[in-house]
C-alpha cells in the first residue's frame, strides 16, 4: 500500500579542512554518524560548492552537483588563504546560506578565538582532534536551524502550512519546507527575497 511515511535521507555535511589526514578523519567520523559527507580542502572551494563566488562570474553547472542540499558546514579554523573564520563570515553575510549551521574546528584552545567565532555566528566550536562523541552535537544544530527557518518562513509568508515540521525529527525528502534545503544555485543570486525563492508545497 502506498506509504505515507516519507523517505529519510541522511543530513548532508560539508567538511572543510586543508589537512589531508584530518579530512579523512572528519569524513570517517561523519559517515560513522550517518551523515552524508562532502569534503573540500579550502574555504574558496567550499563557497564554490555552496554556490557563492567572489568574482560574481557564473558558476559552471555540474549536473552531479545540482540541487545539493547542505545541512551543516564544519570547517577548520586555520587554513591558508581563507581561514575558517573568513568562511564563516562569508556564509553569514549571504542571505541564502546564513541559516546553515557552521561548526569551527581548531587544534588550539584560544578563548578569544572561540568567542570571536561564536559571536560571528558559529554554532559550535570543536577542539581537535575531533571525536566521535562530538558528532552527536551536530544534529541538534541542524534541527534547530530548520525550525528557526521554518518559523521565519511562516512569519514572512503567513502561509497555511502548519508547523508539524519541527516536531518531525526526520529529514524528509518530501518536505514542503524546501527552503531548508540549500539548493546550490547556478546563477549568482545571493540577494534573494524570502518570498520569491522558496518553492512552496501546493
Amino acid at each position: 500500500m502506498a506509504a505515507a511515511v516519507a523517505t529519510e535521507t541522511p543530513f548532508h555535511v560539508l567538511a572543510v579542512d586543508d589537512s589531508l589526514p584530518d579530512r579523512k578523519l572528519i569524513e570517517r567520523l561523519l559517515k560513522t554518524s550517518s551523515f552524508q559527507v562532502t569534503t573540500v580542502d579550502s574555504g574558496s572551494k567550499a563557497l564554490q560548492f555552496l554556490g557563492l563566488h567572489d568574482d560574481h562570474s557564473p558558476v559552471p553547472v555540474h549536473t552531479d552537483q545540482l540541487d545539493v542540499a547542505v545541512n551543516l558546514i564544519i570547517t577548520d579554523y586555520c587554513m591558508p588563504g581563507m581561514t575558517g573564520y573568513d568562511l564563516l563570515k562569508k556564509i553569514k553575510e549571504s542571505s541564502s546560506l546564513r541559516d546553515i549551521p557552521v561548526v569551527i574546528m581548531s587544534s588550539e584552545n584560544i578563548p578569544s578565538r572561540i568567542n570571536r567565532c561564536l559571536e560571528e555566528g558559529a554554532d559550535e566550536f570543536f577542539l581537535k582532534p575531533v571525536r566521535l562523541s562530538d558528532m552527536n552535537k551536530l544534529k541538534p544544530h541542524i534541527l534547530k536551524s530548520r525550525c528557526r527557518e521554518h518559523y521565519h518562513q511562516e512569519q514572512h509568508q503567513q502561509s497555511d502550512s502548519n508547523s508539524d515540521e519541527c516536531s518531525n525529527p526526520t529529514n524528509t525528502s518530501s518536505s514542503s519546507d524546501s527552503s531548508s534545503n540549500r539548493k546550490r544555485k547556478a546563477a549568482d543570486n545571493e540577494e534573494i527575497l524570502p518570498q520569491a525563492n522558496r518553492s512552496r508545497h501546493s
Binding site: 589537512s19 589531508l20 589526514p21 584530518d22 579523512k24 578523519l25 570517517r28 567520523l29 559517515k31 560513522t32 586555520c78 587544534s107 581537535k128 582532534p129 571525536r131 566521535l132
Partner: protein, 176 residues
C-alpha cells in the same frame, strides 16, 4: 611463517609506543573507527599522515636552511605538522613540535641548519613508521589467549622486526 611470534612482536611494539609516549589515545580512537565498512581506515589515515608530514618536513628543512630564517613560515609549517600528528595520536612528536615552536617564537634558531640539530622531531617521526605494521594484527590468523595478553618477551625481540631490511617495503597486509 610463525605468526604467533610476529603477532607478539607487533603487539609489543604497539604497547611500547604507548608506554614511551609516542602514541596517545587518539590512535585508539582511529582503531575504533575502523570496521567492516572501512577495514583499512587506520592504515589509510597513517599513510595520509606520512604523505603530509614528509612534505612538511622537507619544507621545514628547506626553510631552516634559508638565512635570515623566515620564522613566520617556519611557525606555520610546524603548526601544520603538529596538527597532522595530533590527528593520529602522535603525542611525543606533537610535544616536540611545541618545543620547536617555542624556539621559533624566541627567534632562537641560531646555528640550527637542520631539523636534527634543533629537535628530535625527525627521529620521533621516523619511529612512527612502525605504525604501518599495526594493521597486520587484524590480518593474521586468529589469536590464542596468550597473544591476547600481549605477552611481550623482550624489547630486543620487538626490535627484531625493525632490523628487517625490507621494512620500508611493507605496504600493509597482503590479501591472501
Amino acid at each position: 611463517m610463525d605468526y604467533t611470534n610476529l603477532r607478539r612482536q607487533i603487539i609489543s611494539m604497539k604497547k611500547s609506543l604507548f608506554d614511551q609516549g609516542y602514541l596517545d589515545e587518539q590512535f585508539n580512537q582511529l582503531e575504533e573507527l575502523q570496521d567492516d565498512s572501512s577495514p583499512n581506515f587506520v592504515d589509510e589515515v597513517v599513510a595520509l599522515f606520512f604523505k603530509d608530514s614528509s612534505r612538511l618536513l622537507t619544507n621545514i628543512e628547506q626553510a631552516l636552511e634559508k638565512y635570515p630564517q623566515d620564522f613566520y613560515r617556519l611557525d606555520s609549517l610546524v603548526y601544520q605538522f603538529k596538527g597532522s600528528g595530533s590527528s593520529i595520536g602522535a603525542l611525543r612528536m606533537k610535544n616536540e613540535c611545541s618545543m620547536f615552536k617555542a624556539h621559533c617564537n624566541d627567534r632562537d634558531l641560531e646555528g640550527y641548519r637542520t631539523l636534527d640539530d634543533s629537535s628530535s622531531i625527525p627521529a620521533s617521526h621516523s619511529l612512527l613508521e612502525q605504525l604501518h605494521l599495526i594493521p597486520w594484527l587484524t590480518q593474521m590468523p586468529p589469536v590464542t589467549p596468550e597473544d591476547k595478553e600481549g605477552a611481550c618477551h623482550s624489547e630486543a625481540e620487538a626490535g627484531d622486526i625493525f632490523s628487517c631490511k625490507h621494512k620500508h617495503q611493507i605496504k600493509g597486509p597482503v590479501s591472501t
